[in-house]
């Protein structure tokens, strides 16, 4: 009766203690979600693991309690008998061996399964994280430092690896060991159990106090470490400047202050943390002695009329370590758990970020072929003709449409993709309080070349980013072939727009693979043809292994101009119906720049193109030139019209010539 009370008491306080250490609110949800991840696919495995841990704990207990059986039931009778018979002992030992083997098997099965559970969960977590990240809008990457996103995959997932692979199973098995040991201790002797529980609470309390103290120092350490790392990063990035200014001594002096702060705070933190182990270990020695004295008193003097055999007492004493060790282990694990939960919070923050929305989209881009009667019908193969496949219900909303489909599919109509983009009263801001585009009006016709010119921050890049929906507009309307772009499935919209960005990014892989990125089913010949078209062929053939040359670290082994040529080839192989180009400005020498420009000219031929222009020749040859300033289009027209206007364009154009 009493033992049950004690049982409840300890467990209550233990769990209370566990949860009191966990920060409330979001982290609590974090625990649930992590458990959700772990349990989702591994219910059976986890059930088996649970069973194995229990069996294993029981066998451990059996082996511990065996001391009592050995002494009480075998050794003592044996010493008293004239003719000792060891056969019963041998039989018992065989039984014991069998039980223990079961335990060993269970423990192996448990460990082995947990590896699959842990690593499998991490695999899921990583792929989910990545897949979700791929869906996030560009704005997310603008507003989060890339280093920060990276550290979710490295630091935070790593701490979760610790949590799932080690902390959770060890917390679980500690809890089971504690419970089972506790029950057996109660069975053996409840007064002694009471003593152990009391003393263990002291131990837990001390651990907690020490833990809190070192946590304070750890926090200071993290801050100092962050400051020092920041300084190292900044200074070493600028190390060449330090050299040219002979600033070495000053740098060292400042670094040493940071370094000292880190040393002192981590010394404090580690010192406090290092105390926990000896304190717990010796408290458990104290418990042992107290139990021995109390136990001996009870056993020998039977003051409460209780009976305690010597063997029972000896067993009880051996059990003490089995009880105190997991308790001390548990209280130390809590720190790891809390740290991991902070990491989990960041993982789930990324997972909960809102992905790009595509709610209203219903229109797809399809390959089309022209029938003899001039109507369009959908085609499975690439035909070079593209069409928008519009549900009939939507058709009525599209103004200025020309229904060219063959009407065989009653549900859908086809509209040929032409590349007309119209802006109507478009306003846009990246962040609510700072509007960057004002009242943009733009009418284009199919196959036109539209040049955007203006200074940095005028909004040229922003306009191109709105067309392919890297960002969604707040006000106004953007029509693409008379269709509101929000109605077009995002991936189809983007597929219809080739893009060459000013900042070139290449991927780890061969040159060929990088070109093929534009169209995954392109043959080697098609990739080569694209490279030839944009003047990239020459330099590629000069590389050590030609098209099979491996590119690493964002094409670090290529020059800026060469990387740009590859990016153009990549767009060329995609052979998109329309194009968005960002002309390169500086950091290419004149000869390579010429190759790049020619390459761009080649792929612009016969396509609707938006180009952020820096070259006079590009601008001059454009059908529409938009002169932008502070988020507005201030002038619009072709070269001759704008010159005649004698406005900003005239100023820019002639000003250049005079200078």
């Amino acid at each position: 009766m009493c033992s049950i009370c004690v049982h409840l008491l300890t467990h209550f306080s233990l769990f209370n203690f566990l949860f009191s250490l966990l920060p409330s609110g979001r982290s609590g949800g974090g625990v649930k979600r992590i458990f959700g991840y772990v349990t989702r696919n591994y219910k059976l495995s986890l059930g088996v693991v649970m069973l194995c841990i229990i069996i294993n704990s029981v066998t451990t207990l059996v082996s511990t309690l065996f001391t009592r059986t050995l002494i009480d039931d075998y050794i003592v009778p044996l010493t008293q008998s004239e003719n000792p018979d060891f056969a019963p002992l041998a039989r018992t030992l065989f039984t014991l061996a069998a039980v223990l083997i079961v335990g060993i098997i269970c423990s192996y099965v448990n460990n082995r399964l947990m590896i699959n559970v842990g690593q499998g969960t991490l695999l899921r977590l990583r792929t989910d994280l990545f897949e979700h990240m791929e869906q996030l809008p560009i704005g997310y990457f603008d507003s989060h430092a890339h280093g920060d996103i990276m550290s979710v995959y490295t630091n935070d997932v790593d701490t979760l690896r610790q949590l799932i692979g080690q902390s959770i199973p060890s917390v679980f098995s500690s809890l089971i060991t504690i419970s089972i040991t506790f029950v057996s201790m109660c069975v053996l002797s409840w007064p002694l159990t009471l003593l152990v529980v009391l003393m263990t609470s002291v131990m837990v309390f001390v651990t907690r106090v020490l833990g809190n103290r070192s946590a304070r120092h750890f926090k200071a350490r993290q801050q100092n470490l962050g400051a020092m790392n920041g300084y190292i990063e900044e200074l070493l990035t600028g190390q060449k400047v330090v050299k040219t200014f002979c600033h070495e001594e000053e740098a060292i002096a400042r670094f040493e202050t940071y370094n000292e702060a880190v040393r002192d705070s981590s010394n404090n933190a580690n010192r406090e943390a290092n105390i926990v182990m000896p304190v717990n270990g010796n408290l458990s020695n104290l418990i042992y002695v107290l139990c021995a004295i109390l136990g001996a008193t009870i056993a020998l003097k039977s003051p409460l009329g209780a009976t305690l055999t010597i063997g029972t007492l000896v067993s009880f004493l051996t059990l003490i370590k089995n009880f105190t060790q997991p308790v001390s282990h548990l209280s130390q694990q809590i720190n790891n758990v809390v740290q991991a939960l902070a990491g989990a919070g960041r993982v789930f923050d990324l997972m909960d970020a809102t992905p790009e929305k595509d709610d209203e989209a219903c229109i797809r881009l399809v390959n089309a072929k022209r029938n003899d009667d001039g109507t369009l019908s959908e085609s499975k193969e690439r035909t070079g003709i593209w069409a928008w496949k519009v549900p009939k219900a939507e058709f009525t909303h599209i103004q200025g449409k020309t229904d060219e489909s063959d009407h065989q599919h009653a549900d859908f109509g086809l509209i040929q993709q032409r590349g007309e983009v119209d802006f109507t009263q478009v306003d846009f801001s990246y962040v609510p309080e700072k509007q960057v585009l004002f009242d943009i009006e733009l009418d284009t016709d199919a196959g036109q070349k539209i040049a955007l010119v203006g200074g940095t921050g005028a909004g040229k890049t922003t306009i191109t980013n709105l067309i392919n929906r890297f960002y969604d507009i707040q006000d106004g309307r953007i029509l693409y072939d008379h269709i509101d772009i929000r109605k077009i499935h995002r991936e189809d919209l983007r597929r219809s727009l080739g893009m060459v960005l000013q900042e070139t990014h290449l991927f780890t892989g061969t040159v060929m693979e990088n070109i093929r990125y534009g169209r995954l089913d392109a043959t080697d010949e098609e990739c080569r043809a694209a490279a030839e078209l944009v003047n990239a062929d020459d330099f590629i053939l000069r590389l050590s292994e030609g098209y099979d040359t491996m590119l690493t670290a964002d094409g670090g082994n290529l020059s800026q101009g060469e990387r740009q040529l590859l990016a153009i080839a990549r767009a060329a192989v995609a052979n998109p119906p329309a194009l968005i180009l960002d002309e390169a400005t500086s950091s290419i020498d004149t000869r390579t720049e010429r190759l790049v420009q020619e390459g761009m000219d080649h792929i612009m031929e016969g396509r609707s193109t938006f180009v952020i222009a820096h070259r006079l020749s590009t601008v001059r040859n454009s059908d529409i030139i938009c002169v932008m300033d502070h988020g507005r289009i201030i002038e619009q027209g072709n070269h001759d019209e704008l010159l005649a206007k004698q406005g900003k364009y005239y100023q820019l154009y002639t000003g250049k010539q005079i200078d």
């Binding site: 050995l70 223990l100 190390q239 270990g281 200074g455 004149t590």
Partner: protein, 578 residues
């Protein structure tokens, strides 16, 4: 490597020696305690003598207290030693990095140095603490426990010998295999992280080409590879445990069997038997610890090597003895000068030319033609591989480094500002510069105007990497910073590329009028930036293709003509000023 690292223990030697000493004492106590517990059982409980129980209990408590004190002391000293060790490592690295020449920096890369100073050092710190505490504790525990066993009963301890042999062989086999696998795991792990990084950086490309699914498949494959390798490694490691427990249980059964016999004969007491049980556990757990230490050491060995490399790196450029401390004038001579970055190709080939003090020299040519290299050789940021470079008639290798670099101010192509106010940044050029001096330098560099428009003017905070100023503003601040040195030679390496042509022209005019006696080397892509220089060096593939005035080059130099034609024929920039 080990020697380099251990040299950095320095003032924390005492702590590093005291830690294992206190740990050993703690271990001795820890090992003796079970022996006392056997007395409690044998002489106290078994003998039915509560006073004995109390007596030995008190002894045990005293020992526990002593063990506690030693434990705390060892914890304290190990914390001090390991954090101090990390502190010294970082200091040594940082100090040595400050002596690095450009060639040294190129070898490691800035990002590489950052990782070595942060992640690698903290790996070493925890390894050092573990070594000081556990690597003494585990073997000592092992030895003492074995000793105690032998002491209690020599014949019984034979069981341990057999067990130890079996166990160490098994552990050795498993661990040597897992260590190799772990190395592979970390490689794959790096690959995976690289692919994430690539995606984060190139997210616009991914989205523009609608390659989300493609990237997902790629990532999933990489993640699955990692998963399989991890599972293989950990499964192998998981064998450790059953092997250990089997041996332990085997020992317990053997102990029970033989122990019973010995007790019956009277060679052993029951208390001693329980102590033996305890020692079995201790021996096995110390073996387990040893195996963990081994794995940990192999893992931190890589970090150790990377840290030691930085500390041991010898600077390739340093001030000679009896250095010249005066730069006579701003004349420059290249004498049969060749330079290679060490990749087998010459970036500069056999250049011989003379530049007069006070001359303005333009340098033009394609990317990779060696124009930047030429500039950097003048302020001895690199040493010529063959031939020599003279400044003021003296070989640059003879100068005191600080003197040379203060007299030859170099404005780098990839330049950086540091977090701090504009004034802080400017004063890098001259530590004690007054506000007036700074303002004058900024006026020359055409930076004054935009600084005055900023809310806090010269006290405006610059964010890390100068993120809150535009590219052109950053370049002008960097020029002003260099001007504050009042150098005899000023090298501008493509330093106005982000400024519009008008500003560029203004800066050059200010130079011509305000600092006429300074020799100016202007490295540029744009022909406008160099055409009014006294003479222009046209470079191609590391050689001087032409060295003359703009007019003469236009007449005689084919390459210069070509560059001019391309840039003037409507192919020039159409960039509105910022």
């Amino acid at each position: 490597m080990l020697k380099t690292l251990l040299n950095q223990v320095k003032q924390f030697k005492t702590a590093s020696i005291l830690t294992p000493i206190f740990t050993s004492l703690e271990v001795v106590m820890g090992v003796l305690i079970p022996y006392v517990t056997s007395w409690i059982i044998d002489r106290g409980i078994m003998a039915g003598d509560v006073r004995k129980v109390v007596f030995y209990g008190v002894i045990m408590l005293i020992m526990a207290f002593v063990s506690l004190v030693f434990g705390i002391l060892s914890g304290r000293f190990s914390a001090l030693a390991s954090t101090g060790f990390a502190y010294n490592l970082r200091n040594a690295m940082f100090r040595n990095i400050q002596t690095f020449s450009f060639a040294n920096i190129d070898k490691f890369s800035s990002a590489g140095l950052v990782t070595r100073m942060t992640t690698d050092v903290s790996n070493l710190q925890s390894a050092f603490q573990q070594i000081l505490r556990i690597s003494v504790r585990a073997p000592l525990n092992l030895i003492f426990s074995v000793f105690m066993c032998v002491f209690i009963n020599t014949k019984m301890s034979l069981i341990f010998v057999v067990a130890l042999v079996i166990l160490s062989t098994a552990l050795y086999l498993i661990i040597s295999k897992t260590v190799k696998l772990f190395a592979q795991v970390f490689e794959r792990y790096d690959d995976l992280n690289n692919s994430v990084q690539e995606n984060v950086q190139a997210i616009r490309v991914v989205k523009a080409f609608v390659r989300e699914d493609f990237e997902n498949t790629k990532f999933k494959k990489a993640a699955e590879n990692l998963y399989h390798l991890f599972v293989r490694t950990e499964s192998l490691q998981a064998i450790n445990n059953p092997v250990m427990t089997t041996v332990i249980y085997g020992c317990i059964i053997a102990l029970s069997w033989f122990g019973a016999h010995f007790i019956v004969v009277g060679d052993l007491t029951t208390g001693q038997l329980t102590s033996l049980f305890t020692y079995v556990m201790t021996i096995m757990s110390s073996l387990m610890m040893l195996s963990m230490i081994f794995v940990m050491l192999t893992m931190s060995a890589a970090s150790g090597r990377r840290v030691a490399e930085v500390i041991d790196e010898k600077a390739t450029i340093f001030t000679p003895e009896n250095a010249v401390t005066e730069v006579a004038d701003g004349s420059i001579d290249f004498k049969a000068c060749c330079f290679s970055y060490g990749n087998g190709e010459y970036a500069i080939r056999d250049i011989t030319l003379h530049i007069n003090s006070g001359e303005t020299i333009g340098i033009i040519g394609g990317t990779g033609c060696g124009k930047s290299t030429l500039g950097m050789l003048v302020s001895r940021l690199y040493d010529a591989s063959k031939g020599s470079v003279l400044v003021g008639g003296v070989d640059v290798k003879c100068y005191d480094m600080d003197v040379l670099r203060n007299e030859v101010a170099m404005v780098l192509q990839k330049n950086v500002l540091f977090s701090g106010t504009i004034l802080d940044n400017l004063r890098w050029g001259k530590t004690d510069a007054t506000l007036e001096e700074c303002m004058r330098a900024c006026q020359l560099a055409q930076a004054d105007e935009f600084i005055e428009q900023m809310p806090d003017k010269y006290n405006t905070m610059i964010e890390q990497n100068g993120n809150n100023v535009s590219g052109g503003q950053k370049q002008r601040l960097c020029i002003a910073r260099a001007l504050l040195k009042t150098p005899k030679i000023l090298v501008l390496d493509d330093s106005t590329s982000a400024c519009d042509t008008a500003t560029d022209a203004k800066i050059r005019r200010a130079f011509r009028e305000e600092i006429p006696n300074t020799t100016k080397l202007i490295i540029a892509q744009r022909i406008q930036s160099v055409q009014d220089a006294d003479r222009i060096i046209v470079m191609e593939s590391g050689r001087v293709n032409g060295f003359d005035t703009h007019e003469n080059l236009l007449k005689t130099n084919k390459l210069y003509q070509e560059i001019y034609r391309i840039q003037m024929e409507g192919e020039a920039d159409f960039d509105a000023p910022e």
